[in-house]
Amino acid sequence: MVLSTRIKTLSPELAEQTERIAHIARRETLDFFETIFEVLDYDQISQIASYSGFPQRYPHWRFGMEYEQMRKSQTYGLSKIYEMVINNDPCYAYLLADNSMTDQKLVMAHVYAHCDFFKNNTWFAKTNRRMIDEMANHASRIRRHIDHYGYETVERFIDTCLSLEDLIDPYRAFMTREPPRRATTEQDRRNKKRKDEEDVRYPAKPYMDRYINPPRRKKEVSPEDAARATARQVIPVKPHRDILWFLIQHAPLEDWQTDVLSIIRDEAYYFAPQGQTKIMNEGWASYWHSTLMTRYILNADELITYCDHHSGTMATSPGRLNPYKMGIELYRDIENRWNRGRYGKEFEECPDMEIRRNWGQDVKIPERVVGQDSPGRRKIFEVRRVHNDVTFIDEFLTPEFVDRFKLYQYRMDPTTGRMVVVNRDFKKIKQQLLYMLTNHGRPHIYVVDGNYANRGELYLAHKHNGLDLDIRYTTETLKGAYNIWGRPVHMQARIDDEMILFSYDGEQSKQQRLNEKDTPKPAHTI
């Protein structure tokens, strides 16, 4: 078994702890992939953290940038990487060599909960669980392209791809977006059946099919078919957000470029669920390290160190929301509410604050719950399975919670340029949070036409939901899109309540007000 050879890098004490903590975690019905711990020194862990947890990535300066920032903040004692774990089967997690045993135990408990989350949260269901191998493959594919086409050529192209990297459709994996080409009717089906009877097909590999089953001579082209063939093909059939896919399909790229672009896209899809579940994932891991450490794992002499480090992780600072803190408190709040029956129509609609506050106070709650042995626990296990950050906040953030945890909304004061507290209103705060979390705080961009004005130009559009695009960045990003598309590119966006069309034609950037009459319309509107 792989495990037995790998585990040798751990000292006997650490190996013993991993098994002990895994056992305790399983008893609490946490369900995780086999988890392999490796002990690394700080240089190595910084490297791996720069590669977002993977031992290998393709060569790119961006990882060097991450590395430098990480090393600097570590050198000056500003921050330190404690734990890292990657969504893979088996899960890999890293321990920092010179951490104390207390820290190592805390990290292990934290890691097992992360692994449980990776395995069970539905948003991770479609991710590649062999990503370690996949990343190494990506690296060697890109290295091969570098050997062929030169470092700088490939690097420039990667830069371009990275600037478009978040133009994906995070929900694509869960549904089919493309409508069927044409609705099938009863007539069609009968035709097809008849055709099938006429056709005798011999089994053949796809590439040989044309030769083994040569296409039969067309008897007659029906006028319908002819009309359909000449009609302008609308691409895309429906506006969609997976612009990277659209470019891979339709942009005039060389083979190596297509390969690089699909690598960037694959990795973006792999990382997407982690962006979608930051609060939930860290909250879940913190909930469990706290529960396991304080109930089962800690020795008495480790308590102070543990408390120090736990509270360091949970610390909040003005103007920053700590996902660990937010997450752990929400899970605890949910557990408590479901234990006391503070949910459902009756509770929601109760207008009396006094009654609400004392709701379920008399319910007797067992002191030490193991596994899913209480309504609260069952609920949080369910929550970790089905929710992502947006639905999590939408569903479980309550006015009481906002009040108790002193959440506030802040905004830039235009006169001083400083961030100031603007209010503590539940609705505003919730809306602000949802804004920040939806699509990872990034705008929704759609591809609406691949043949704009019948000139083969690319037409993108921003779906406005309250916030304008940054003009400078939009202009620069369009240049990158042009490099890939090879023909003029456009971006329609609402700026200050006016529809603006940003364009780049390879030489100059243009912005024009969209006028209903004299600008050609794209194939779709959103």
């Binding site: 590395y67 600097k72 978040d166 600072s317 103007g319 507290v421 949070l433 921003h462 940054d470 620069e476």
Partner: protein, 366 residues
Amino acid sequence: MSLRIDKDHQRFRNIVKGRIRKDLRKFLTRGELIGKEGKHLISIPVHGIEIPNFRYGDNSDAGVGQGEGQPGDKVDGDGEGIGPGGTEEGRHILEVEVTLDELADILGEELQLPRIKPKGKHRITAEKDRYSGIRRIGPESLRHFKRSFKRALRRQMIVGTYNPDRPRVIIERGDKMYRSWKTILSPHTNAVIVYMMDVSGSMGDEQKELVRLEAFWIDAWLRRNYQDIESRYIVHDVRAAEVDRETFFHVREDGGTRISSAFKTAQELINQHYNPQEWNIYLFHFSDGDNSSESDSRECCQILREQLLTNINLFGYCQVASAYGSGNFINVIHEQLAKIDNMITSRVNNKDDIYDSIKAFFSKGI
């Protein structure tokens, strides 16, 4: 231990410094981390490159925080509310994390010093190719038969087409391995800098301090630009002697001044060790210009004109203002040695002038 990331890191550093990928410089961001070192707050510059993407604009500057505070309270950290108010002094933030090399670079960029160019055949480095590596792509003339053969054999054994009874190995395209080369820079000829300093009694501590600062920066700058550089140090009062770097920067002496002694020692040094055909020679002399006699000054000029200046790349004379002396030497050499290209003089009265002085020395790019 070298890590895989080091290459990426090096590349990032080079982009930040503007050596490669100049197109990315417009996306450069400069943030800072505020750290603590002892009592001092220090600012650690953090460079980043922001690849442009579609993002929200200004009106997105809002968020949710947690903690105390009334509407209107500032949440972005510094300023009010921290520490006892009133008497506290301003925060002293020191910049850190600039290596001497980087500083020399910055000096070069800010002052727009031309880098001293190796002239004529005096190449500082020579390039040499060495066949030391192996790669999968290359010209057929560099094919590594043995390795290619082994790979082919291995492939055939894996696929199962190898028959030991009829051992035929066919090398396919994917099997081929090629020798590859590395370009190695090797020092070819060298440069030498000779620093001469007047340490006579008329040079006060302040003057010596100025001289040493300037010598230090010249040293740092030249070392930065030449891979291999030698420095020699001479101090003099009425007699001159060659000393080591440590002594040069720390020695205290008294006595009169005879500048010609230093020039003679320098000339000897050059004659013995540094053939002008093979060496770039830079001479810098620092003094308060208070030579003991006019005749010695004239002798200096003669040595310079007839021997030193014909052989060396540059002679720089830097005169510091002195409380005692006349400081006449600079005038003498201006008179006697006008219209000589590779001699540059400058005056330094205080620390601020060091900047201009170094600029004067290197502005001609000799």
